[in-house]
């Protein structure tokens, strides 16, 4: 019996050692919108040259893999050692507290402290990671199409209605399928919702029922889809809360105005090139304000790692000022690092359009509403976004009336709140 037990134990140990991460291995799950995967690889190669005892493995995956598969891995106490992702608040219970592990926690607090709440459990002071980029939602206009149509680009304080009217004129003149497009995303829809006066957060900190501000933009949005002002393709192209971007339609010159965000700048710079002129417009205004929605992708350490010290070393390196500066300049991403922002950046591009667009987004980031700043750190944001996308797209497809959609959005959110309390 003892012999059998010993054999079983030996077998179990053998099995464990064959599947567990080796000492010195750090695995990063990474997704890319543009060239950031290549830039990261270059930076990591340099790190490994200086730290031969640490082997960093980069798993390049799609955004949907991070969004749909990583949460399941984390719930099972598994996953990579470090991950780059967008829904950093909802999963914050899985992040490793780097405070006792990093070389200088004061450096982290000083430079990344503004976004620390976005990626840690409420009430904690842990250092979970840092934002690899700060993003801001905003619009892009195909300037060539506007010029060819002889329609002036709406000005700085133009409203959503102004853009809809001008884009419609351009589409009619230039025979393009849609005047406007907006990503199939609750985060994107939230920016105009807020500019129409919406407030998602109730008095108890939990989601509030959909208010008149949100309803007034959503009804306008559905009206635009029905009359062909807004691209229907993107919003009805899937069921549930699946993400769909309209970037390809803009790149192919199929829409005059596209509402997405700053992360598209390097993408447009690479793919549009000199095919046509484009400009960033900032966020159109609603009756309440002209806010965009901040966000971004965070790089976080995962608490199930077998090598926390090595992970902290890699994170210290990637969060260091010269590396953040180089990463941002080469990827054309807006950095979160205070020191880098204060000392200025020299984005590595010859594309004047991209440089101008980045400048517009930097300016727009100063005009965010308080609620827009608060939402990335609110635990229920993703729940509200998911319900919005699911039901608004059903209304866009003609499956339910707007009133039914509003009722369903509230019911879906209430059910999620109830489920999470169990």
């Amino acid at each position: 019996m003892t012999k059998t037990r010993t054999m079983l134990a030996a077998f179990a140990v053998g099995l464990l050692t064959s599947t567990a991460a080796l000492a010195g291995d750090v695995r990063i799950m990474w997704y890319s919108d543009g060239v950031e995967g290549e830039v990261l690889k270059d930076l990591i190669d340099r790190f490994m040259k200086d730290n031969p005892d640490i082997k960093v493995i980069i798993d390049n995956v799609s955004f949907s893999v991070v969004r749909e598969q990583l949460p399941v891995q984390l719930e099972a106490g598994d996953g990579p050692d470090i991950a780059r992702l967008a829904n950093i608040k909802a999963l914050s219970k899985h992040w490793l507290d780097l405070r006792p592990l990093v070389a200088d926690s004061a450096y982290w607090d000083k430079n990344f402290g503004d976004q620390a709440d976005w990626m840690r459990p409420d009430g904690s002071n842990q250092i979970s990671g840092f934002m690899t980029q700060i993003t801001l939602t905003g619009g892009f206009a195909n300037k060539t199409l506007f010029d060819q149509a002889g329609v002036a680009l709406p000005g700085k304080d133009a409203t959503w209605d102004d853009w809809a009217k001008a884009s419609k004129q351009v589409a009619e003149s230039q025979q393009i399928p849609f005047p406007m497009a907006l990503d199939r995303s609750g985060h994107r829809l939230t920016a105009p919702d807020l500019s129409f006066g919406a407030n998602y957060i109730g008095a108890d900190g939990k989601p509030a029922a959909l208010d008149d501000g949100a309803k007034s933009f959503i009804s306008k949005f559905i009206g635009w889809i029905e009359d062909g002002t807004m691209s229907k393709d993107i919003w009805v192209s899937a069921a549930g809360s699946t993400y769909r971007a309209g970037a390809d339609d803009f790149i192919n010159g199929q829409v005059a105005f596209y509402y997405s965000g700053s992360w598209q700048v390097p993408n447009f710079s690479t793919k549009i090139g000199s095919n046509f002129d484009w400009v960033a417009t900032g966020s159109p205004c609603g009756p309440a304000n002209c806010t965009g929605m901040p966000g971004g992708a965070g790089l976080v350490a995962i608490k199930y790692t077998k090598n926390p010290k090595d992970v902290a070393k890699v994170m210290d390196y990637l969060a260091s000022e010269p590396i953040v500066k180089e990463f941002s300049e080469r990827t054309l991403f807006l950095p979160a690092h205070k020191g880098v922002i204060e000392n200025g950046l020299n984005f590595k591009t010859d594309d004047a359009q991209a440089k101008a667009a980045l400048g517009i987004f930097v300016t727009a980031s100063t005009g965010l509403s308080d609620l827009a700043r608060k939402l990335p750190g609110w635990a229920w944001s993703d729940t509200v976004y998911g319900a919005l996308v699911t039901r608004v797209s059903q209304a866009a497809a003609g499956e339910m009336t707007l009133d039914e959609a509003y009722t369903r959005i509230d019911a879906d959110i209430a059910a999620k709140v109830k489920d999470s309390a169990l």
């Binding site: 749909e68 949460p71 399941v72 719930e75 099972a76 829904n87 909802a90 399928p177 229907k232 393709d233 009805v236 192209s237 899937a238 069921a239 549930g240 809360s241 699946t242 769909r244 192919n252 199929q254 993703d382 729940t383 976004y385 998911g386 699911t390 797209s393 059903q394 866009a396 497809a397 003609g398 499956e399 339910m400 039914e404 369903r408 019911a411 999620k416 489920d419 999470s420 309390a421 169990l422």
Partner: protein, 346 residues
Amino acid sequence: MAEISRQTRQSHTGQSLGETAMMPVRFAMGIIDAPLRWVQKKFGLGGMAAFFLLPNMLIFGIFVLLPFFINFAYSMTGGTALFLSDRTFVGADQYSRLFDCSNYTNPNTCAEDTFWTAVGNTGWFVILQVTLMIGFSLVTALILNRDLMARSFWRAVFFFPVLLSPVVVGLIWKWILQRQGLLNFGLYGFGFDPHVWLNDRNWAFAATVGVSIWAHMGFYTLIILAGLQAIPKDLYEAAEMDGTRAMRVFTRITLPLLMPNLLVVIVLVLIRAVQIFDEVYVLTGGGPGTSTLFVTQYIYETGFAAQLRNPGLAAAASILMGLVLVVLTLVQLGLSRSRDKKGARK
């Protein structure tokens, strides 16, 4: 004399080669012989059957039965936690939630409206896809069973899509059917107005049925073709000598003798249709709206892709779907057995 000697030598070499090749087999048999004798002595001849079935039953138990029971346990729990031990027991609440409906034919009156929409869509998909799949496969098999020119080539043509991954199938047809796809390009070239096929509820649904048939028809055609080739030729010759009409030959000879194969095909198509997910997920993503959302995608979205996952609700939905599949399989078994009994009586 020399010839005889060479033959003898060859025979000796052949024997020694055969013996050499058999040596490891004999060695292996020698090793297992003793334990097998012991098992037979211990459990009897009947026990030997159980002994040989044990590995299969273990695999079935671990990979089929155990997950089924775990899934059932999940369906009785609530919350968003993944581990069963972290979840709260809620009894039949998840089932009550799924069945909380004032009018099952109108999903908008149900608490889980998307589940019932998915059930309705799956029902229609099964009816259309199974009927058309059987029809097309049968007709194709009948044609391919004839003396066609380049028959093997045509058989390969119809079978080729079966070799493709469902993701590839979905992507190919998406590129054909999307707004700026190949079909609209062709239509535009011939002076017709393009149409956004995948944005139109009815066309998108028709596309899912059509693409599914295109992708899998070759496999079922092959099964039916095998059945057709097993029908004795003399029956057709006798019918021809009697001057029987072609339709009568089909209904009185071909169809009855093909029935065992057709039953297998019907069950396989039916089960596959209820489980439809992969190519449709790539092709339409369940849209426009929820018009091509099927039960498997609902389960996937609820359990894995939603912002706040609900594994309990997803498990309850999958148990219900499993029950439907069990009922369908039992119906098929019943039909098959009644046919066998009839055959035995005749």
